[in-house]
């Protein structure tokens, strides 16, 4: 990734125009042609540098719900419990962390009423307590995108 790629990526982290020629608009801000803007993004996507180029959804406004859960898993059971938890479709991602509560995963469900049910099913399947830590407030970053 060169300096121009970084400027392009940083500009696009702030949003992508919804207009007929969006790449031309972004390119104009950066002194790039429409063609070069597209070509650079295609290269970055091909290299796997971009994980996504598209919409960021809001779960609640889609009618769904997302929550963060934590478990205290005995070390000797960690791999087994990981397999059980990750087998749930509703588990979106899962991290091992260095704390007594050593497994942290995010649940995403299509109906907010399902959260408690999925938590109960995971507790039943693992025999372990799941702490449900839903977001109460989200504080948005002050993005300074002039990299």
């Amino acid at each position: 990734m060169d300096a121009t790629d970084r400027r392009l990526v940083n500009a696009l982290q702030g949003g992508f125009p919804v207009a007929e020629r969006p790449f031309a608009e972004i390119g104009a801000e950066l002194g790039l042609s429409e063609q070069e803007t597209i070509a650079r993004l295609a290269t970055l996507r091909g290299l796997g540098t971009l994980s996504r180029f598209g919409p960021m959804f809001d779960a609640e406004r889609l009618g769904g719900a997302v929550t963060l859960c934590a478990m205290q898993v005995p070390e000797e059971r960690f791999d087994e419990v990981t397999d059980i938890v990750n087998a749930f479709d509703e588990v979106a991602h899962n991290y091992a962390r260095n704390h007594e509560l050593n497994m942290w995963f995010v649940l995403a469900v299509g109906d907010p009423g399902q959260i408690d049910k999925v938590v109960a099913r995971i507790e039943e399947a693992t025999g372990l307590v799941v702490l449900n830590l839903p977001k109460l407030d989200e504080y948005f970053l002050e993005l300074k995108l002039s990299a």
Partner: protein
């Protein structure tokens, strides 16, 4: 929030990403059998209502060397949370910031922020700096580094795929300028 059937089709058409062509919204319209302007109006409506937070890109930070991922948490008096969060979200290394419930006795912390970086020692120093700057030195604190990240396996329901695009925002996807390294 109720979505029209056109909006559902539109979301399904773009969830995997926008086409990298000069007129991407025209290309989406060709797939859906509608005009470019219908796609643009539909997307603007979804953005205005916040169903789509934004269009944009997310880089694979892990692959770019951002491997130190610290969930930094404090037990902050409820009345002081908002002011502390206002300071934290202005720090250039903080990538996400939330208030969540305490679950005593196992979990006394209510203010969460993520710090992502390339070097664990640097991230630890940033967590200290965040604590001091936000006036949280007197609060109980923990810094939880990730040891492993597990990939999801298996096919997913279409509806959950959309939600996954939202759930990844909660901890895995974040937006910050990439600095020259």
């Amino acid at each position: 929030m109720a979505l029209t059937s056109f909006e559902r089709d539109l979301l399904a058409a773009i969830e995997e990403g926008l086409p990298l062509v000069a007129r991407p919204y025209e290309a989406i319209g060709d797939v859906l059998g509608c005009s470019e302007s219908a796609v643009i109006e539909g997307l603007r409506g979804l953005l205005d209502r916040g169903v789509v937070r934004r269009l944009g890109l997310v880089v694979r930070h892990h692959e770019l060397g951002y491997r130190a991922n610290a969930m930094t948490v404090w037990d902050v008096p409820d009345r002081a949370v908002r002011d502390a969060a206002a300071v934290l979200t202005g720090l250039p290394f903080v990538t996400l910031c939330y208030r969540r419930p305490r679950r005593p006795p196992h979990w006394p912390y209510n203010l969460f922020c993520m710090i992502h970086g390339k070097d664990r020692a640097v991230v630890e120093a940033q967590a200290d700096q965040a604590t001091r700057t936000a006036g949280l030195s007197g609060c109980a604190r923990a810094v939880l580094f990730s040891r492993r990240r597990f990939k999801q396996r298996g096919a997913r329901h279409a509806a959950l795929r959309l939600l996954e695009g939202a759930s990844r925002i909660e901890g895995m996807e974040w937006t910050r300028p990439i600095a020259a390294s």
